[in-house]
Subunit: 235 residues, 2 copies
């Protein structure tokens, strides 16, 4: 029975890192636990230590401690024994490369399926989908595979951004990119706006936060689902 | 001696497809030639035939004909015999996958080095760089390698977009993404704004168009170069 929060972003405009998620951490992880932090995505290229320190400071506000996976000798064992797991955002290609390089993709799937609580933000949420094929990140390194954890039966596009109707920029919109994805991939994509998250609990997947999410399916017009919608059967 | 136009975008706001590039096509390709079109990037998922028809219509304005590489039985032979080559935009992951799948990466490098004129727009420009590691596209398919044609000794970021200072969106800016790229890759990156192109001629690489370009190097503040700047030694 999976227990997870898959959040579009770590930080809302004008707020501190993870601020809007802190009230939900004890419900997810319980009280006074040590959470395993996966800093592999290294936003802006910061070090594993720097990133872990940042997560530590935020989690302290919920009386939870943090230890970086890079501080353990054996990352597989670290995942096996974790009381809870948090994967931070950054570059998804780098994150997925490192997950495979450290051999922890399968063990992550196993422990989360077995009930170890998981939270991801941004890239950490992307890997909750079937593949990382709907990331917004640059391919700065080539991972062995684009397959990810599949905690939900669809793909996720974090930081989903509505097309700017006033823009004169001719780069592809997010919607165009997802449409291209669907010419080669059949799973639905959930465009998760900032401040939204998917809550996995009691075998349900529910959209949380204040905003609606945008659902993309092959050969179908995209549509909106309101917060509170159950997305368990979306596949 | 390479002869090429590597353009940030195919289309400027309010203009027709390739409109601003048409006045330069005869200088690049010569008169009344048949140009080989590589439609593999399939923007928005359109078919090879549809995409080729679109390129054909635009090239007619410069009295040049177009034939899609998919219309040839042997794509390698098609590249070898081409009087000129044009690669259109779309999804870079798909384009690079197809270049490798059809075995034409090396032959493209050879004929362009030998003087066959080349034009790329967007994804077709991305592949002119050393790798596709600075594309903006979604990883909808996994290519065999991120290595690309290396017509220039650096990477290119097409559709370069300055950070929107008024934005409250917390997704990474283009500059942040390129900074992450530089933690794992050493080559410079040229952020090519829409309407700009790199002109390769007489062993020089020159920035053309009305706007400046933004240059990113490892461990250095990004800086602007004006149109007309020679970028041959940027590596």
């Amino acid at each position: 029975m999976k227990k997870a929060i898959l959040a579009s972003t770590s930080t809302l405009h004008g707020q501190d890192y993870l601020e809007y998620l802190i009230p939900h951490l004890n419900n997810l992880y319980g009280e006074q636990k040590e959470i395993l932090f996966i800093p592999y995505a290294r936003p802006g290229g910061i070090s594993h230590d720097e990133y872990t320190a940042k997560a530590k400071e935020a989690f302290k506000k919920a009386n939870l401690s943090i230890k970086g996976i890079h501080e353990f000798e054996n990352p597989i064992e670290a995942v096996e024994k974790a009381e809870g797991i948090f994967t931070g955002g950054g570059n998804t290609f780098l994150l997925v490369s490192e997950l495979y390089r450290n051999g922890i993709v399968e063990i992550l799937q196993q422990v989360i399926a077995g009930g170890t609580p998981y939270m991801g933000t941004s890239a950490g949420t992307n890997i909750g989908g079937l593949t990382m094929g709907t990331t917004n990140d640059m391919p700065i390194v080539l991972p062995k595979s684009f397959k990810t954890l599949g905690l939900v039966p669809f793909n996720i596009n974090p930081h989903y951004l509505d097309p700017d109707v006033n823009s004169t920029h001719k780069g592809e919109t997010r919607e165009t990119r997802i449409k291209e994805f669907h010419h080669f991939n059949s799973q639905p994509v959930v465009g998760l706006r900032e401040g939204s998250w998917l809550a996995l609990d009691k075998n349900e997947i529910i959209l949380r936060g204040e905003l609606s999410a945008r659902i993309f399916k092959t050969n179908q017009e995209p549509y909106e689902v309101e917060t509170g919608t159950i997305l368990t059967a979306l596949n």
